[in-house]
């Protein structure tokens, strides 16, 4: 446990009017000063009194992020009893995330779940009963850490991070074995070789960082599941939303046999969109697995997009889908409006009379690209009205991943600089080790005895 400076978004993650980013710890004010500019550019937060509020702007270097109010509370008169800064910004996830990232870039780290409360307790600010709740929260950290690190990463990312780590630990082990046994292992000409590896790693990591930024790697946002009978146009909908041909679209019913997942950013609202296999009674084993998965996804969804082929009459399969959706927020898309429609909006309204404010019905044609705008508007409306929200925890986890990855990236840049400055090899292993342990945080692995094991298994040392 560190007693460094921590930060997190303190308000719920939604596009509400105002968001608060809280920073707590010894360097809270110092960090805020690095990113805050007053109107005349002269005010320093560090010279302001406690419990005062200041108008100004947040900058990421020279880039203006938002107009804000900054509240300063000095120790011990704050919730955590540490120096605390709260930045009130214009809600909106993108803005809040961006400010949080900037705060982190300037020296804070992301707070663990419950960490503000934990600090408040450790500093004697809250009593035992509250502490019990904190204990529970912390207890869940074990599961949480594991879940956030492995489950939320796709296999390919996990594999990539592992391969970065393997490359790095191999280099450290080589340097270290040469240092421990200089008469057996020589480092002549090694820095040049290392430089190539570093350049290659930096390149790959940079690409991954960019993709993190675009959100393709991250599974954050509103979990939105597309449901419908086979060949109703689910995959086409996904493609229209993504603007690219990802899902296989054919005329044959039952093409999507598993679950496809994508991330889209709808004017700042993150949407984690999942395309499923068409739901119908089937004997085909592979297709059946797909159908089962679709049902499972639907149960966990924040929002369901139900695609109906309006050119075919409703049947038993539709009724069972409707069943599945009850108690969920959903949007029904009366698709194929370009064909002869046999299902009307009224038909559907009659079917789901009970929960009127749980759904919207939109007529669409994927072929003619009509109705897509209304759909996007409907999703935004849902979100802004607060009717749907998304999983906070997942989002924080993802920022955590990004933080760790960019830490590793920065460490490798330091290695590069040390090579250029012709620093002795033992200095290189310091930052290599930092990069290695940062990457470990992403996949939930600690360093422990990795290095010693690598040295002994890969390099022949000793008398």
């Amino acid at each position: 446990m560190k007693t460094d400076t921590i930060a997190a978004i303190a308000t719920a993650m939604s596009n509400s009017g105002i968001g608060v980013i809280r920073i707590s710890g010894e360097e809270a004010v110092e960090i805020a000063d690095k990113i805050y500019r007053s109107k005349n550019g002269k005010k320093k937060l560090s010279s302001q009194k406690t419990h005062t509020i200041h108008y100004g702007y947040i900058y990421d270097e020279d880039l203006l992020i938002d107009e804000v109010m900054v509240l300063i509370m000095r120790a011990p008169h704050s919730f955590t009893a540490e120096d605390t800064v709260e930045i009130d910004c214009h809600g909106g996830m993108l803005v809040m995330n961006k400010i949080l990232e900037t705060v982190i870039k300037n020296g804070a780290r992301i707070a663990e779940p419950g960490e503000f409360t934990k600090r408040a307790f450790l500093n004697g600010r809250i009593d035992l009963t509250k502490a019990e709740a904190v204990m529970d929260l912390i207890e869940s950290q074990n599961d949480y850490a594991l879940k956030s690190s492995i489950d939320q990463l796709k296999g390919s990312v996990y594999g990539k991070i592992t391969s970065f780590r393997n490359k790095i630990i191999h280099e450290i082990a080589f340097i270290e074995s040469a240092l421990d046994d200089p008469e057996h292992i020589s480092l002549d000409g090694y820095p040049n070789e290392l430089m190539q590896t570093i350049d290659q790693l930096l390149d790959e990591m940079n690409r991954m960082l960019i993709s993190f930024q675009n959100g393709k790697v991250l599974k954050e946002g509103i979990k939105t599941v597309i449901l419908g009978k086979p060949n109703a146009g689910k995959s086409s909908l996904l493609n229209k939303l993504l603007g690219e041909e990802k899902a296989i679209v054919t005329e044959i019913a039952g093409t999507t046999r598993d679950v496809l997942e994508q991330y889209i950013n709808l004017d700042g609202i993150g949407i984690h969109i999942i395309d499923t296999a068409g739901i119908r009674e089937t004997e085909d084993i592979v297709e059946k697995i797909g159908v089962d998965r679709a049902m499972k996804q639907a149960q966990e969804a924040d929002l369901i997009l139900y695609v109906v082929d309006s050119s075919k009459p409703l049947d038993e399969d539709d009724y069972s889908i409707m069943e599945l959706m009850s108690s969920k927020r959903f949007i029904i898309l009366l698709n194929k409006s370009d064909l002869n429609t046999v299902v009307s909006i009224e038909d559907l309204e009659n079917l789901c009379k009970d929960d009127k404010d749980h759904y919207v019905i939109i007529q669409t044609s994927m072929k003619d690209e009509t109705g897509i705008d209304q759909l996007e508007d409907a999703i935004k409306k849902y979100f802004i009205s607060g009717k749907i929200d998304f999983n906070n925890e997942a989002n924080i986890t993802n920022i955590r991943h990004k933080e760790a990855l960019s830490d590793a990236y920065e460490s490798l840049k330091l290695v590069k600089k040390s090579i250029e400055d012709e620093m002795p090899e033992d200095f290189l292993s310091i930052d290599l080790m930092n990069a290695y342990s940062s990457l470990g945080k992403i996949i939930g692995q600690e360093v422990e005895d990795d290095l010693v094991n690598e040295i002994f298994s890969k390099f022949c040392m000793g008398k």
Partner: protein
């Protein structure tokens, strides 16, 4: 046990501390106790083997050199003894950063042993006794419920009453040596093994384990053709190990070592005879170290390597024996001869002593506190290879700490603990007592997370104070370090505040040393950061400096050149200290800490960490468990 029961228990002497074993750990432990004014007995199975070097003929080397320096700063003897008896010296890794520079000296083995014996024999309060200790005598301390040391019993039945015991039995407990099919039940070098103590320790509830190590053959110098090998010289300017040795006194004529290589032929012979190796045939039960592999291991595990280095090193000035570094083995004698004779220069070699593997009993060091006291005992301490380490230096360092803390115990004072941020000795001991080791532990620079701060050049600045507080360092020695510290700080500050203008003289100086010219004024410190410049060179443009000694200049140079890295590590150390300073009360009941995971609870119970920091390093204790523990401790202290 049974044969001992017939012996008459007679009290021979009453002392403060008994040290069992007179190897590198035992010598340091005994000297520390005696020097701290305690009546001390040191037991050895052979007085002629005090401070014996049964394996390699050198002291120091990467990270081990650091240990010797630190030991010296605390008031230990090893550094002084090797300065008296070395025959070649080398600073390793000089082309690398200062943190990994490490001193290594070839010793005259017989001299080393003799000189250490002389020191022991002339030490006030110290009694040397040739005897095998068979029993540790204890009673129960009514107050603490712990087992309390009351004495030791030797093989003859004689009893030495004492308050504390330091166990430094090295590789002698139930030792057995293997050379192919030939097995002897002896300690190293044919010395008598100690076959009784293990049973007593087991009966006292101590968990024992079995480790293995090995040594290569020694050869007759006259049978070696050195013309086929590369000669390896010592350094031109010799740096002594001890901070108290005058550098002028160690500029001696040195002897050479020689380098040669194994080849495919060697490897083929080894591979063809693996079935006769006790290790590969499964005769050996002990766990051997991976870093010090036998030549059999090297050939099997690194099959793609075409050759391995072999260092031929003298065992002393007055002997023809040469040590064959890099080729330890437990293969039978006939295979050894064949194998060694394939190496260039060794074609006609005569083996004086065969290579062998040795197995011995030692303990799981998790049973110890960082003071090297046994948990559950009052007055029982342990150091050296008995604790599952390997190497002379590792042994000596632990022996010193165990000895000091035995003395502190007898004097009823707080133990001396060195933490991971203070020295390699701290890393060594913390690794032993906190982590789980399954092989003999060797020091390595990579094991030290703050190695930039824990350099061999500043061991005195780091640890003299501790040695002084304990009572092993004199007022004069301590005053010197305080003065040195002050001079370094003043000079660093001066360099950071002295501006140098971009004048002609300076630009000429810079171009002379291939250094970029100045555009504006900079500080001397900024210039010193340039890799091509040094404190010595800068004297040309820094006429106002006052004369300083070499050791001060060295520190100034390093502190400024690596300032950025050093500051980063100092910050890490601060974080480390915060959690290290959170102490766990001795009477903590982990069953009372709800929310701890089962594994963590079991581990915490068995390790009994003294601080939250130590708890966090136990494998199987997660960060979440540490949070739970912290919260528990907070409420615990609030209630008090």
């Amino acid at each position: 046990m049974s044969e001992l029961q017939n012996r008459k228990k007679t009290i021979i002497d009453k002392v403060d501390v008994c040290v069992v074993g007179a190897g590198h750990a035992g010598c340091e432990a005994a000297l520390a106790c005696a020097r701290l004014g305690l009546k001390t007995v040191i037991f050895t199975v052979s007085v002629d083997s005090i401070a014996l070097m049964p394996c390699n003929p050198n002291i120091g080397g990467s990270s081990k050199g650091h240990l010797v320096r630190e030991l010296d700063a605390l008031g230990g003897e090893m550094g002084k003894n090797i300065d008296k008896t070395f025959i070649q010296s080398k600073m390793l890794n000089v082309s690398k950063g200062p943190a990994v520079h490490s001193l290594r000296a070839q010793a005259d083995k017989a001299d080393y042993s003799r000189e250490m014996r002389k020191v022991l024999e002339n030490q006030e309060n110290l009694i040397i006794k040739q005897a095998e200790v068979c029993e540790i005598l204890t009673d129960i301390n009514e107050e603490t419920g712990k087992k309390r040391i009351i004495g030791v019993q030797i093989f003859t039945g004689g009893v030495y009453e004492c308050k504390a015991v330091v166990l430094c039995t090295g590789t002698y407990l139930r030792a057995r040596c293997l050379c192919g099919e030939a097995i002897t039940y002896t300690g190293p070098n044919g010395l008598q093994a100690a076959n009784h103590l293990t049973e007593c320790l087991t009966n006292l509830g101590i968990e024992m384990r079995r480790f293995k190590t090995g040594t290569p053959a020694r050869m007759d110098k006259r049978s070696i053709d050195f013309s086929k090998m590369e000669e390896q010289f010592g350094d031109e300017k010799i740096v002594p190990f001890s901070f108290s040795t005058n550098p002028d006194d160690v500029q001696i004529d040195q002897v050479s070592c020689y380098l040669t290589y194994t080849n495919e032929k060697t490897h083929e012979i080894i591979r063809n005879n693996l079935d006769r190796s006790p290790i590969y045939a499964g005769v050996i039960e002990g766990t051997g170290p991976r870093y010090c592999p036998s030549i059999e291991d090297k050939v099997v595990k690194f099959a793609d390597k075409e050759r391995h280095q072999v260092f031929i090193e003298p065992e002393g000035l007055h002997t023809n024996e040469m040590y064959v570094g890099g080729m330890s083995s437990s293969l039978p004698e006939d295979v050894q001869l064949q194998m060694y004779r394939t190496v260039p220069g060794l074609e006609n070699c005569q083996i004086v002593r065969n290579a062998y593997a040795i197995e011995y009993d030692c303990i799981n060091p998790n049973q110890l506190y960082a003071s090297l006291a046994f948990k559950g005992f009052d007055g029982l301490f342990a150091g050296g290879q008995f604790n599952g380490s390997s190497g002379y230096e590792e042994a000596a360092a632990q022996g010193l700490v165990a000895g000091i803390n035995a003395a502190m115990f007898v004097k009823n004072k707080e133990p001396m603990i060195i933490d991971r941020s203070e020295g390699y000795i701290g890393v060594l001991i913390d690794d032993l007592v906190t982590k789980e080791n399954f092989e003999p532990y060797r020091m390595m620079t990579s094991r030290s997370e703050y190695r930039l701060l824990l350099r061999q050049d500043n061991a005195d600045l780091r640890l003299r104070k501790k040695g002084y507080e304990v009572g092993l360092i004199s007022q004069e020695q301590y005053d010197y370090v305080c003065l040195k510290e002050k001079l370094i700080a003043e000079e660093v500050e001066r360099l950071q505040n002295t501006k140098i203008g971009a004048n002609k003289k300076v630009q000429e100086f810079l171009s002379k040393h291939d250094s970029a010219s100045l555009k504006t004024a900079v500080t001397l410190a900024e210039l010193l950061c340039r890799p091509e410049l040094s404190y010595e060179l800068l004297s040309e443009i820094d006429p106002d400096r006052k004369p300083l000694s070499d050791d001060v200049i060295e520190q100034v140079n390093i502190n400024i050149k690596y300032d950025g890295y050093i500051k980063r590590q100092i910050k890490q150390v601060e974080t480390f200290r915060k959690i290290e300073n959170k102490k766990i009360p001795k009477d903590i009941d982990y069953d009372d800490v709800s929310s701890l995971r089962l594994e963590a609870r079991a581990k915490l119970k068995s390790f009994q960490p003294v601080s939250v920091g130590q708890a966090s390093r136990i494998s199987g204790v997660s960060p979440a468990d540490i949070s739970v523990l912290l919260i528990y401790l907070e409420t615990y202290y609030q209630k008090k």
